[in-house]
Symmetry: C2
Subunit: 449 residues, 2 copies
């Protein structure tokens, strides 16, 4: 097999064999295929696409390029099915912090490996690190012990997981080959399936604050993710969800962590509540599907209400918060900070954005709010940028809410950041007020099975 022939076949739009794809991924991983051949291949895939069979082969090869988590898949006596949730990311997206412990409380095991991507705000790991002492660098041994004892962990992906993805991602970023459904699919799933999960709930976000700007492209990615994960033996669903306005009331690491702690006490912004509970309901549905050894199907309105009720009880009885505290404790975090969130970093400066008029909030543009948060230190542009955990934005009002002219609709938290004025301007421009009640968008657009 010659690399140049494989590239040439993809250039001409042919379907590659699993052997050809494995040869390519192996060569990228061990360095025998140089970057310039890898990038030509990536561009050919970007323009020509891949079939589901090819995407499966690519995912499988990237997964096989590294280690997988040794948690036993069988549920009998092992403490629950291995089920995870993954989101393609958005502004104020914080459901992982709630769903990992909630999953544990609901009787499944949630082995959540998270990356530290660039973006508007830090990722899940940065949010958890706002809790003093919280460790995100568990060894495999520690992670497996915690999965057994506490049923959930959230820790960083290690260098041993999917090294092919790390190499390819670095190359894609500088060769304009990020925007490719099969490449995104293989990148996400090669890391998620390294968790050895049996079930997977995918939150594919669409809107100005998401990677996929419209529901159509989000739907295509969701279709590819579901088909590929299912072909690899994982019971999978993808929800297409709104990312046109930020999720919940906060954007920024410490602010979001505190919002999650409040949420686990049962108090949530309506959009965060609807999304979190729907995702949790799907985790339960997958759990039941695995237990009954059947095919995953949509649930009807009756089942929806039953799942909703069941999930709400875990909040109301305090089980979700209890599981979170157990997880924080197991990962070396300060449990007191969860009980008393004043121990979580707070910014020195708070500035308010006043409503420009009386009326209804028409839009809160996620992209701009995210960009403003990043400007004042909440996120990274480069991998080695330092994050200010306390920096961020609180949204007192969201789309559809009534406002009086002059009332504070948003608060910006920062530590005397030099870009504060510019960021304030951006937040101001992101919020639109209209005289009439706007048409409310749903939070869940579609379910892809």
């Amino acid at each position: 097999m010659r690399t140049v022939d494989i590239i040439g076949r993809k250039r001409d739009g042919h379907e590659l064999t699993p052997e050809e794809i494995a040869y390519f991924v192996q060569g990228v991983t061990d360095g025998t295929i140089p970057d310039y051949q890898a990038s030509a291949f990536l561009m050919a895939v970007c323009v020509r696409g891949m079939t589901t069979a090819e995407t499966v082969a690519l995912t499988r090869a990237m997964l096989a390029s590294g280690a997988t988590l040794g948690a036993p898949r069988d549920s009998s006596g092992s403490g629950g099915y291995l089920i995870d949730k993954h989101s393609t990311g958005g502004v104020g997206d914080k459901t992982s912090l709630i769903l990992a412990p909630l999953g544990a409380a609901m009787g499944m095991r949630v082995p959540m490996l998270a990356g530290r991507a660039l973006g508007h705000t830090g990722g899940t790991l940065d949010k958890l690190e706002c809790i003093p002492g919280f460790r995100t660098d568990l060894s495999e041994h520690e992670a497996l012990a915690q999965l057994r004892d506490v049923r959930a962990f959230i820790t960083g992906t290690t260098a041993e997981i999917a090294p092919a993805d790390r190499k390819l991602y670095a190359l894609r970023d500088v060769t304009a080959t990020v925007e490719s459904i099969p490449l995104i699919t293989a990148s996400i799933l090669s890391k998620k399936l390294a968790e050895n999960v049996q079930g997977l709930v995918l939150d594919v976000k669409a809107g100005s604050g998401a990677f996929m700007k419209d529901t159509e492209s989000a739907r295509m990615l969701a279709r590819s993710l579901v088909d590929t994960a299912r072909a690899m033996g994982v019971t999978t669903v993808a929800l297409i969800t709104d990312m046109d306005q930020p999720l919940g009331r906060t954007v920024g690491n410490a602010l979001e962590t505190k919002e999650c702690i409040t949420a686990m006490r049962g108090k949530m912004a309506p959009d965060l509540e609807e999304l979190t509970i729907t995702l949790a309901a799907w985790m339960l549905n997958i759990n039941d599907t695995l237990a009954e050894d059947r095919t995953l199907t949509r649930f009807n309105e009756f089942a929806r209400k039953a799942y909703w009720h069941e999930v709400m009880e875990y909040f109301e009885k305090g089980d979700a918060l209890k599981a979170f505290i157990q997880m924080v404790d197991a990962q070396g975090g300060d449990v007191e900070a969860v009980m008393n969130p004043s121990r979580i970093p707070v910014a020195a400066n708070v500035e308010a954005v006043a409503a420009p008029a009386t009326g209804y909030i028409k839009r809160v543009r996620a992209a701009e709010i995210g960009a403003a948060a990043r400007m004042i230190g909440a996120g990274r542009l480069k991998a080695d940028d330092r994050i200010d955990h306390a920096a961020g934005v609180i949204l007192n009002r969201k789309v559809g809410d009534k406002v009086e002219a002059g009332e504070p609709v948003a608060l910006m938290h920062h530590n005397a950041h030099p870009a504060a004025a510019e960021a304030m301007e951006l937040i101001r421009s992101a919020i639109e007020v209209s005289e009439r009640t706007p048409v409310k968008r749903p939070i869940i657009y579609d379910v892809i099975l």
Copy 2:
């Protein structure tokens, strides 16, 4: 301007601006754009294509990446228009050796810079180097002096000519991005236009022994070459010519050189004669077009006969051979070897391929004959492979010729090469005999203006 944005725009099929293309070529040349970005760009061009405006910009930028020949373009008192011929290459393709001196004899100046490509046999430079002492490394000063005194030279492209092409070509070869009409166009023309020519006759070959396997793709390349060269101010024609059987009677460096010397004495195989004279007629037509400052047009049957007659006279009067001797002499070659070709290398072994049956030659597959010649040392697979000048194949019979069973239809010349038996088998398999007279293919398929 960011490289990744330029790559992304081409990935999405947009037309790039001349500034974007110049930025890319400049970056490749000075090394600020790494190979992995260059190869992603090349693959995007390969799949998405380029408009004529983009191809012109690419050619212009690649030409501008290096030096151009300082010969004055104006013909008044400078000894004739600067006109060259270029072929996309094929098996037994040897017309350059004849057309450069013929052009000089016809009153134009032919500044022929040639490369040393990989292939079935060596290139024009390897053929000329069969003449003892012949130098193919003229300095620009020497080349210009010779152009003034002898009106023709054939020498190697220097490192100063189109360095961007050298870098990009090396990358294309290993990233499956060779087969792209705009990239081939820019590669050829960036080197040819560095000769500062005013007229250009392109011989675009189609068939099993050519890069373009069918006339349709050859026609597309010809169209692109003509449109681009014309947009850059060069009066250009392209002929689509046959490369299904080897051209003339010989394949191999020394054998071809001797065939050319015989040709310049007026004795040519019919296909070599028709092609050489047609190409020369177009050089004359371009010369007249430049002199009369008009647009190049097809010539009618009357003009065709007049040109044919004129060209034949240069052979019959011995002017072509005289110009060749002057060129050889000026480039340090042994003039005696031209008069007495026994001084040109001869192989130790000659083996004959016997006709398998009585009938007519139906096919002589150029690809196989070329591959056989390369196997016994006539060509290169890698840039540093050594060439055996004497190795090659003589075709006693060509398509349409009558043969008796057992008569020698081809002779293989080699120096006790270990691959000789395998090469003989390949030559044998390349020659087909049928009972009936085959339909003869034309040598000239089309003329693209």
